[in-house]
Symmetry: D2
Subunit: 372 residues, 4 copies
């Protein structure tokens, strides 16, 4: 991994995502702007110090000489690192999975495309929302013609966290995202606008051919855009609107897509990522849930849990595992307070037993019935 | 791990949850009812075959002799295994993290409590819903008195997947859950009723002292309950209702809790696990989101992402990683179709570039402007 | 009308509802516990003073002698008046439409049933929720077998407004509802529990044959119940739960019904009365909206607006009419502030005109283009 | 009333709204394009035939000569009638309450503004959404500074009913709205775009000064726009987006407003018109409900029911009244089926009585206990 050291929010997310299915091992990295910060990052992830490098140049140079080199590198550093690190990795023979946007400028992206073509190495981008099962199912529904010809596409990505100029205080996430030296040409457009643009094209297969934008900077002293509203024209004749903002006060992370075809409309919203609403003309709306029978292969392959279980269940589970492991390690009863133990186990069995008795007898029974 | 072999849904969830934070290594297990099925399960998880055992007896016997034994065992097998496996593990000196319900019968639970006390080994239960950040925050709000004295508690857990007698077809999950030999005394009560009961007590700190239940079997030929409605009396004077069903046709996995105090009510629902609604008397409802500023420590420690990002985001991310890794491995272009690549990278940068131009000039610009 | 004088909330609702469709004229009444308060009530409704009576005895006596008597009487007074007023009206030959519950005690209800039979006059009860189009459509869906045999019915009616003993302050609505002398035998049960019970039977056609209740009084010094949780058994074998509360702090007026059959479940909630959710086994949920094509006759006859318009639109419209009429009457410019006028009219046409120009030309245009 | 005859959907809505509060009497009108259709319309409303006129010219001429003339006229005819009828009414000395848009063209609107000024008669426009209590409260919140300076305004009005060219079949509502001769210059813009524009300005007090629009016609053969997306610039520096569509397949009547200020955002949606969501920076979201304590006077004056009762409750009530009245008139038992009667009354009292007994005794009791 390149980037994702101490202070990074997205680094650990990449680590958890990469290793979730037990198919990818996280073994090496360069995690910061100095040798020292890189070592701190490596320690955070518990890596073998021998494979924690001072910078990504050293990483690629050393790994290509190993008998067991890495297979690919994930680039999670700020945008200005994307291009040089991806170029170096590809040229060293490694596949690359990069955070979006691809690069800091359009010229870099065009140059990178040539390098990808020349080296023939796999290159991927973590446009996260394309990973949701219901987004993939939406794409399938459009592809098989459930909506008919697409007429209108509305995509929004609204955040409010840059309402105040928190980059002038010491907010690290805000700082690099509002600084052209690290963020590149786009502020809000580069951070979330490209997500919205990609989501619209990913689901519909329609490509934007013309656009008309209003790009604004509301934060005092801000060098990059923090709000953009864009009218879109698609190759197939559809019209669209893209709304992207980081000054929509009170909005959290509202990415949402609506697609209207001749015969039906569909809606997906990140607020309820496990659901997809299909609204056929003159028929009841249908709410499609991840994990239910009859979904596309694309959706099924992207689902780990039975229907009705939000994928976040794994994290809830993980909290219990982590707290339990911590309590074993520390032996501290206080830290264990949150993990249900044998008392709760006995209570649970008592509850079942008493409920069955009450149901059989009819009427009230006590939980505590004295000695059994 | 004990259990969780081929065909198990909860096994892989335990594996993902245990390893999510990179603090727990999954190194050994006994995964089935025969040596053969255990080996198949071990292969599924990519474990060292030397630490995949024929059964849990062998697992504990061998591991306790190793210089680097396991620290704890997760029991994810059907209910009838919980007690003997937990007993054996505790007596072999291992900590235990067990799936709920604790045991197959109340008598076993009482016996297990004695063994836990006698061995002094840590014992935990994966009551999953207690792992959600907002459930833990709800518990904190009750604890600090935001609601005042608790008056009423309504907890529901409704599923519909056993509406039809699918255990008579070949549904493996339904089979063991409806068979007293593997499920124990409770059907619906043991599978999900205990979750509801635990959630109510976990959040409120109030304990059920009396109950009055209606327990039903709707599925033809079913030996265990598939529906139960229970009136509850709590020690502190609160009254409650617990609804638990696996024949609520069309319900997916709707666990939901409402708590009403003298001064405010609160609601949490698994449909939107990242939210908590607090309704103070005579004031606007407040919707509290995971990750927002000002939450309790308990909630913050259980949250991995910034506010507005459902925890399932990690899984969406993981889908992209997995698909990318698969495509590298197979070299198959078809399999890569879903992972955005350099084309999408260039398009994204083009989008940003054109939006900025349009914003600066005012008016429409083309995405494709010929050679740059 | 009997009752509904000054201070009554439900009186004006009856008046608006009765006259909404222009088929019923509101011409006479007795509106209070004294001749004076009745006159004040009559003035509130702008009735001919000659048909505003001192009490309901006088109302029936006088109206039956008129050449143009009333056709029926609406009884909207507190519960203890329901029986004597209904009896007197029926015996005087008038049809009766009464607020629920029918009477103050069960004995009165049985006596009233005999009077209805003996007089042969029409008698109706305003169980309001049965008037919703989607409730009536739900009933039709059950009737035609969309759900299959009914297995489980969950009905809730939760309010929080009696969380505090506001009847001890001067809350008129709380006072009579918590006083056995005016409310009858039921507190919460009589005020809203009967609504829930009726809704369950109305929609499903199933009849409760046995019940098991927990009835509580949380408000200090309260003589009648303010909370009740009830297990239900229905004649056809279905099981059910009824939750009814006026101390569910923070709840407003949450009446909600879930019905589970062999093949599908349905849900209706007063929060979104224009919607009905049908959840067939193994198929996407369907959200059925009032006014959409293909609904039952029963639903269509109960709908006044096209789909997507909540019925409350009529009230929003009425606000504009009322404010406009008030402003004409008073000539007061201040009072007109809220009604859009000719400036808004010109702005609206300017908006359309400019949008069309911008669309035709491409690019930005000013709203104010100087003299046309 | 001018317009609103047979076949009109909005005519009866105006009638119900005008008379809802009992302060406005509906006494005269001209309801169609011929004397005959006008008479049919008058009969629909049950008016005195002497005050049902052949056309609006006759209406104003005759009414101005009466000793008891109308106070104002409501114009509910298609758009092309708005200007001539309003002009004639104003010049005859009557106040005018007109449907939107004000006129068929901008030139007419400017002319009308001069006539309003010259005659000094009150002129109002039924921009319906401004009548909602929570819209008025939103306006108050902006006015008192709860949001701080406004930065961004997103307003949408999406319908899907013109997805197919139903005007080519015999859909009367679609026909006049898609024909420039009756609709004027705007199709979708005139029918719903102006609502969205007005709502944005009404709530925020900000005025659009520049706009950039994409205006489309998707319906084959359509002469007027059926879709428009518009970027907005407001006088105070705010930026905005207006989306308006009648080809958003599956959308019903989704008018929705989001306003983002420096300190908070707010959202109102017609799907839940009784709610308003305020999202302050760094604090929990607040859901404000109509009828709750502490609302602005503007909101309270526009609310007829206690909190938690959607205003559509009045219509549900009205359905019961209407069905009851119809059943009395017809004497037909069949028609009464939907109105709960004495049987339901007795059942309700039995339910209360049995619930109280069960609560007192503990345990199950039968509904039918034989003779009392």
């Amino acid at each position: 991994m390149v980037g994702g050291g101490l202070g990074s929010f997205i680094g650990p997310v990449h680590r958890m995502a990469a290793t979730l299915d037990g198919e990818i091992a996280f073994v090496a990295g360069a995690f910061g702007s100095s040798a020292e910060s890189s070592r701190a990052g490596g320690a955070r992830y518990g890596l073998d110090p021998a494979r924690v490098y001072d910078d990504w140049r050293a990483l690629f140079a050393a790994e290509r000489e190993r008998p067991d080199p890495i297979d690919f590198v994930a680039i999670t550093a700020p945008n200005h690192v994307h291009f040089p690190a991806a170029r170096a990795a590809l040229e060293a023979g490694f596949a690359v999975l990069s955070d979006k946007p691809a690069t800091a400028t359009l010229a870099e992206a065009l140059a990178l495309a040539e390098i990808v073509a020349a080296t023939g190495r796999p290159y991927g981008l973590t446009y996260t929302y394309t990973g949701y099962a219901m987004v993939r199912h939406a794409r399938e529904m459009v592809r098989v013609g459930t909506l008919g010809a697409i007429r209108k596409i509305v995509v929004e990505y609204e955040q409010g966290w840059l309402s105040r100029p928190i980059e002038q205080a010491d907010d690290r996430q805000a700082k690099w995202r509002t600084d052209p030296a690290t963020a590149g040409i786009g502020g809000c457009l580069g951070d979330i606008g490209v997500h919205a643009h990609n989501l619209a094209e990913f689901v519909t297969g329609e490509r934007v051919i013309e656009l008309c934008a209003e790009v604004s900077r509301f934060g005092p002293g801000r060098a990059l855009d923090d709000d953009a509203n864009v009218l879109l024209r698609f190759a197939g004749g559809a019209r669209g609107v893209l709304i992207s903002s980081q000054i929509s006060a009170g909005a959290r992370n509202g990415i949402r897509l609506r697609v209207y075809g001749e015969n039906a409309g569909l809606e997906w919203s990140h607020e309820n990522p496990d659901r997809l609403t299909l609204s056929p003309l003159d028929e009841p709306q249908r709410v499609i849930h991840a994990g239910m029978p009859g979904l596309s292969d694309a959706a099924r392959r992207a689902t780990r849990l039975p229907t009705g279980h939000p994928e976040g269940l794994i994290e809830a589970f993980a909290n219990i595992y982590r707290d339990f492991a911590t309590s074993i390690r520390s032996g501290d009863a206080g830290e264990r307070a949150l993990v249900p133990g044998i008392d709760e186990g006995v209570r649970g069995m008592t509850f079942i037993d008493r409920a069955l008795r009450s149901g059989a007898q009819g009427g009230w029974v006590a939980m505590d019935m004295g000695a059994e």
